[in-house]
């Protein structure tokens, strides 16, 4: 008897376990017309924080137009899969945020509403956006399927006190940066923190370091060219921060998102980090004050091209099958209006995507100037090709492995990098 009841309990437990896999999402309400479903990405310090920031704006939109917006904030780990599922099933929100680097890839699914001239007019015209930001909307020469919402850029954050104590000034070249990092690596402190286990961050820096060498991951026809010398040298230079310069703690190979590097920086464990401009709110939530750190452009090696960041940021898209196209366009117009942007840029530490608007993400004029300069003058868009997402996943994951090899005591030579990139390129070619 005892056994039987035990077995029954186990069976019930097993059923409960299998039953708890996620419930289907009831994104689009058939009684639409006066409602919109909006998937927002995680821009604030937490998903709840995003809700708190966005809710008053959505209320305002409802008062103005009578359209109720059902908000769901989705974390970055899930967003891409959720979008894939939505595209596949047609069970999609009306409006959503996307990482702007995915724009061309998502455009090629054909599931998103192209912003033709009529649609652009409905949201206030193409010219209201900064051109750099607007260019990320989709494949060049076609109607974009997304418009910019928040602008972001990478910066080199440094700890002012640590630099001052060591008698250092903020670096302006790669060589200076490495020298400073070496000087600041003592005991259990390190010169640098990297999200070396995050494939997105790794792919971004593969791109930026290659761009500093004048190399591109795709040619003019959109064919992958992953094994160019400039790319291999760029990746090698970045890996060497951990491998030969030893200014990065090998433990960073397990940092699968930027937050962990930000925490190390805010807690004074490292002197420098590379992160996007929206890290400010996370830094201060960890107790580091705004005047305790500075930001400069991520420097190029001497003689290299001055590229400090890719054009990072968040775009907004409308699903083609929305039952409330006019409402959706109205909502995009509202979210990209000057008043809403002014209200959101500060809590989300976003750079302005509207032309002629002064940055409001920080009270620090110098910081605002630095990031505006990086965003407008030292940025390159990631490849605007349909295979961009595959570039991120294959090259980024290959770099994860290379960092893992280095961290666990192995070495990664340029031949190894070339071999890994050849494999990545074959995978991209096989899928296209």
């Amino acid at each position: 008897m005892k056994i039987r009841s035990l077995a029954a309990v186990a069976a019930i437990a097993a059923l409960a376990l299998t039953g708890c896999s996620g419930s289907a999402n009831d994104a689009s309400d058939p009684s639409a017309g006066k409602t919109l479903t909006y998937w927002a990405s995680n821009q604030g310090t937490s998903l709840d924080n995003d809700k708190e920031v966005l809710t008053p704006q959505l209320k305002k939109f409802e008062e103005e137009t009578g359209i109720k917006v059902n908000l769901e904030v989705i974390g970055w780990n899930d967003l891409q899969t959720r979008i894939q599922t939505a595209v596949t099933s047609g069970q999609a929100p009306d409006v959503l945020n996307i990482g702007n680097t995915w724009a061309a890839s998502l455009q090629s699914t054909g599931a998103f509403l192209p912003f033709d001239s009529a649609a652009l007019d409905a949201i206030g015209g193409k010219d209201k956006f900064v051109k750099t930001a607007m260019d990320t909307g989709g494949v060049p020469g076609e109607d974009p399927t997304s418009v910019p919402l928040y602008g972001l850029a990478y910066g080199l954050y440094y700890n002012k006190a640590m630099f001052k104590d060591a008698g250092l000034t903020p670096p302006t070249t790669w060589e200076d940066m490495v020298a400073a990092a070496k000087k600041l690596t003592t005991g259990d402190k390190h010169g640098f923190a990297l999200a070396a286990g995050s494939y997105t961050e790794n792919s971004h820096f593969a791109f930026i370091n290659a761009a500093q060498n004048g190399a591109d991951f795709f040619d003019a026809e959109g064919k992958p060219t992953f094994t160019e010398d400039g790319i291999i040298d760029g990746i090698s230079r970045y890996l060497d921060l951990m491998q030969t310069d030893k200014v990065v703690d090998p433990g960073n190979a397990q940092y699968d998102n930027a937050t962990r590097a930000v925490n190390d920086f805010a807690n004074g464990k490292v002197a420098m980090m590379l992160t996007q401009s929206n890290a400010n709110s996370s830094i201060s939530s960890q107790g580091m004050k705004d005047d305790e750190f500075g930001v400069v452009a991520f420097p190029s090696p001497k003689g290299g091209t001055e590229v400090a960041t890719m054009v990072a940021g968040i775009n907004m898209s409308i699903f083609k099958n929305t039952k409330n196209k006019d409402g959706a366009l109205e909502f995009v117009k509202f979210m990209t209006s000057e008043t809403t942007q002014a209200a959101l840029d500060k809590p989300f530490a976003a750079l302005p995507v509207l032309a002629g608007v002064t940055p409001s993400f920080t009270d620090d004029a110098e910081l605002a100037k630095t990031f505006s300069d990086i965003y407008e003058n030292k940025s390159r868009p990631l490849p605007l090709v349909p295979a961009e997402d595959q570039f991120e996943s294959t090259v980024g994951k290959a770099m994860n492995q290379m960092f893992a090899t280095i961290a666990s005591g192995g070495t990664v030579t340029k031949e190894d990098i070339k071999a890994a990139l050849t494999t990545a390129q074959q995978a991209v070619e096989a899928a296209s």
């Binding site: 186990a10 097993a14 708890c20 890839s105 054909g110 599931a111 397990q254 997402d389 595959q390 666990s408």
Partner: protein
């Protein structure tokens, strides 16, 4: 709801054919069919339809260009299979490596889980004080929500602040550097250990239930004849548990070979090559590159392999039973 419609549909229609037949059927003969119908219909929906869809997908070029409108995806015949099985290419080589890792993983996990489950079941076969406590304790990993259990392991296996390295190096004072457990080659050991931790209570539960059906007088007779415990286990316990073991090992093999949750939760988005189990590999191959046709082809190959292995296993076991 579908149960009642099923009854309505099958009932009168089947009754009509029954009347035409020469032999009059017994009244209410259709009832068992009607009662089975909902289950059969659900089975079709839950298992057969997705499986057939998956097989159909494997012949399509279902990339991101086509997933919003599947009907437009071009038919490519066996191309997806060719790519998956071309071991000179990166895709085929990756699949082959992952297959090898999964075989090693499955053999280790099933073998060790079965051994542990058997040892624990035999140890708890005789009644003694506190037996219930051990039984409950051993079943905890099985009762824990999978995600919670594996994520706890993920925290314990961190390099710098994980409990395992803390125990080995800080508390026990082992010399040397703290190793990584979730990246590099150690990832394989980690995923094997976590999978065993999850699976062995199931083997324990099944074997314990099986042991209850062995009459105690067989053991008593054996010990009168002078058989030691090991001999008793080999000559009585093992043969009498044979029916349980046949299905237990097959089920554990299938579950372990297909294990997706353990590597997915343990490694997150960046799976190390040493822990690249096949379900997870296929998921990455299709979702990261949006190439669902290729992923479906790999899944069909996996299905074929598991069907062949299971078939041979069942045939072999039945033949041995007939000979015996």
């Amino acid at each position: 709801m579908s149960a009642s419609t099923a009854v309505k549909n099958t009932g009168p229609a089947a009754g009509a054919t029954g009347r035409k037949a020469r032999k009059p059927r017994r009244q209410g003969w259709w009832l068992p069919y009607a009662l089975l119908a909902p289950a059969v219909i659900f089975e079709l929906f839950v298992h057969v339809v997705p499986m057939v869809t998956g097989i159909w997908m494997s012949f399509l070029k279902l990339t991101k260009m086509f997933i919003s409108n599947w009907g437009n995806a071009p038919f490519v015949g066996l191309k997806n299979y060719q790519v998956a099985l071309d071991f000179d290419s990166a895709v085929g080589m990756g699949l082959l490596k992952s297959f090898g890792i999964t075989i090693a993983f499955t053999l280790l996990v099933v073998g060790i889980s079965w051994g542990l489950g058997m040892a624990a079941a035999v140890a708890l076969q005789k009644t003694f004080k506190g037996r219930a406590i051990f039984r409950t304790l051993f079943l905890i990993p099985y009762a824990l929500p999978m995600y919670a259990g594996v994520i706890a392991w993920k925290f314990m296996l961190q390099k710098d602040n994980g409990a395992l390295n803390h125990l080995i190096f800080d508390n026990l004072g082992l010399p040397g550097d703290k190793p990584f457990w979730l990246i590099g080659d150690n990832a394989f050991i980690s995923v094997v250990i976590v999978a065993i931790w999850r699976l062995w209570p199931f083997a324990f539960l099944m074997l314990m239930a099986g042991l209850q059906s062995i009459p105690t007088d067989v053991y008593e007779a054996a010990s009168v004849d002078g058989a030691k415990p090991l001999r008793q286990w080999w000559n009585i316990t093992l043969p009498m548990l044979r029916p349980v073991n046949i299905s237990l090992v097959l089920v554990m093999f299938l579950w372990t070979f297909n294990d997706f949750n353990t590597p997915f939760v343990l490694f997150g988005g960046s799976q190390p090559p040493a822990g690249d189990l096949i379900s997870f590999h296929i998921y990455n191959a299709s979702f990261l590159t949006w190439n669902f046709g290729s992923g479906a082809a790999m899944s069909v190959l996996l299905l074929l392999f598991l069907m062949v292995v299971s078939g041979i296993y069942v045939l072999f076991m039945n033949r041995r039973k007939d000979n015996a």
